[in-house]
Amino acid sequence: MSEKILQEISEQLQKGKAKAVKELVEKAVADGVNVKSILDDGLLSGMGIIGAKFKNNEVFVPEVLVAARAMNMGASVLKPLLAEAGVEASGKVCLGTVKGDLHDIGKNLVKMMMEGKGLEVIDLGTDVPPEKFIESAKENDCQIIAMSALLTTTMAAMQDVIEAAKTAGIRDDVKIMIGGAPVTQAYCEQINADCYTPDAASAAEAAAAFCKA
């Protein structure tokens, strides 16, 4: 029985039906389905399918965005329950697109996927100067600073943020994650960031792992 409702959650999520997902999650909780299983086998499994289709060019950015939104609606129902059960990754991430860069779709996807994992994301928006990343990380006690850049010319700003973190004396207290189309693992190593991932789902996974560690 619980399998059927989990399947339905996954299907509605893939269609981007946020309201239906929320209602189904509430129903599943009321029916006593294990909350961790609702998250893993309903929400995250549906999102995984959409993510794979996106990689294969079977669906496009809009489908991914509405699916992620539906996932977050469902996850918001589970959040307090997961926290109670102590299974939720709890952590804070400050996330933004670097200075000079206004591309934000990738960043927004990363945000939604991280929130789906139960992390709190402070969204600094686009064109974020290095000082702002640092101030916000300090103010909010973030474990992670995550940066997105889509231009080869703005990628360099990631290094400025890392330098600013050193100067501010917080480099050892935060993990620094970077991503965006032109960013690579090699670049991550070159500028001594802590983590690069090529897509939003793996970004959320890596962030959750950092917060558990």
Binding site: F60, P62, V66, R69, G100, D104, I105, D127
Partner: protein, 333 residues
């Protein structure tokens, strides 16, 4: 042949002394002419001087009025900042879908940044007469809507409030149409249309929601007697079928799309213009990688193709690499 003669002949598949060089220069041209980006974007005299100098030095066959994506956006009333030597940064004027009702179409004579573009066209015409084709520019209705509200917000509005979003697209369309004839009257031979978001939304939404608007824009360009050029950054391979009916004379093809595939799809409908990678081939490559890429595009693009990098030439491209495009075109004849 003058650049203008070359471009017109090529468009009709007639013989040319060399294939037109249509590379898109903005930040590169400003830097080459020794001007900061804020001046290039906000003063038509600086834009015109930078582009003429660059065209002469690098064998570019078109005089462009592109600088950044936010000319209309600023004229709609959005706050815009011009950092000294980087791209302008523009705030979203529409903060909630409810704000859409406050956006009104404008006319170019009452505008600031679009009027500056008209002045650039007039100045080109005075300085160059008929030597070069001059290209005016407008944003497509979807791209402009995204500039006003944000791309993520645009997509959510598409699902949640499609009627309201159509109202915004209509305002953007009306404004775009208002801005075509004055640019043609000022001397523009070509009107470019930028609709970057088309490459991220997939073919279904493109067909239903963007294509009808783009068609109306190209119909107006045609009515005004100008050449229409469509520029969509990114991978448009899934849209090639639909692009047959858009009504553009020249369709830019970014480097992610196979040039031969694009030509095949669009052969009887438009000239393809492209399409090597501006970053890996031109900026980070060598004169040899550039020459190889140009030659491959000439082989793949057919008798009406134009040659350029798939998108803007990055500011820090080595000069000799950009010049290598011209050298390759001259040696192919």
């Amino acid at each position: 042949m003058t650049s203008k003669e070359r471009v017109l002949a090529r468009l009709h598949g007639k013989p040319v002394d060399r294939i037109p060089n249509f590379n898109i220069l903005m930040a590169f041209a400003a830097k080459y002419a020794g001007h900061p980006m804020d001046k290039f974007c906000s003063d038509y005299r600086v834009l015109v001087e930078s582009n003429i100098k660059s065209a002469e030095a690098f064998g570019i066959d078109i005089m462009s009025t592109m600088s950044d994506a936010y000319r209309e956006t600023a004229d709609f009333g959005a706050k815009i900042k011009f950092p000294h030597d980087s791209l302008p940064v523009c705030e979203h004027l529409i903060k909630t879908p409810g704000d859409i009702k406050n956006i009104k179409p404008f006319k170019i004579e009452d505008s600031t940044r679009m009027l500056d573009r008209v002045k650039a066209i007039e100045l080109y015409k005075r300085e160059l007469g008929d030597e070069y084709p001059i290209m005016g520019w407008i944003e497509g209705s979807a791209a402009e809507s995204c500039d006003l509200m944000g791309l993520t917000e645009f997509i959510f509005a598409y699902y949640d409030e499609p009627e309201l979003l159509k109202e915004l697209m209509d305002v953007c369309l009306e404004t775009a149409i208002n801005c075509i004839k004055p640019q043609v009257d000022a001397g523009a031979d070509i009107i470019g249309v930028g609709d970057a978001v088309a490459s991220v939304i997939g073919p279904e939404i493109y067909q239903e929601f963007l294509l009808p608007y783009e068609r109306k824009i190209f119909a107006e360009i045609k009515r005004c007697g100008a050449i229409g050029r469509l520029h969509i950054c990114g991978n448009i391979a899934p849209l090639l079928e639909d692009l047959k009916t858009v009504g553009a004379d020249i369709i830019d093809i970014d480097w992610m799309v196979g040039f031969a595939e694009a030509r095949k799809a669009l052969e009887n409908h438009a000239s393809v213009c492209g399409n090597f990678d501006p970053v890996t081939v031109v900026m980070d490559g060598t004169t040899q990688t550039v020459a190889d890429a140009v030659n491959k595009c000439i082989d793949d693009g057919g008798s009406k193709c134009f040659i350029m990098a798939g998108c803007e030439i990055p500011k820090n491209t080595p000069r000799e690499n950009l010049l290598a495009v011209h050298t390759a075109l001259v040696s192919r004849g």
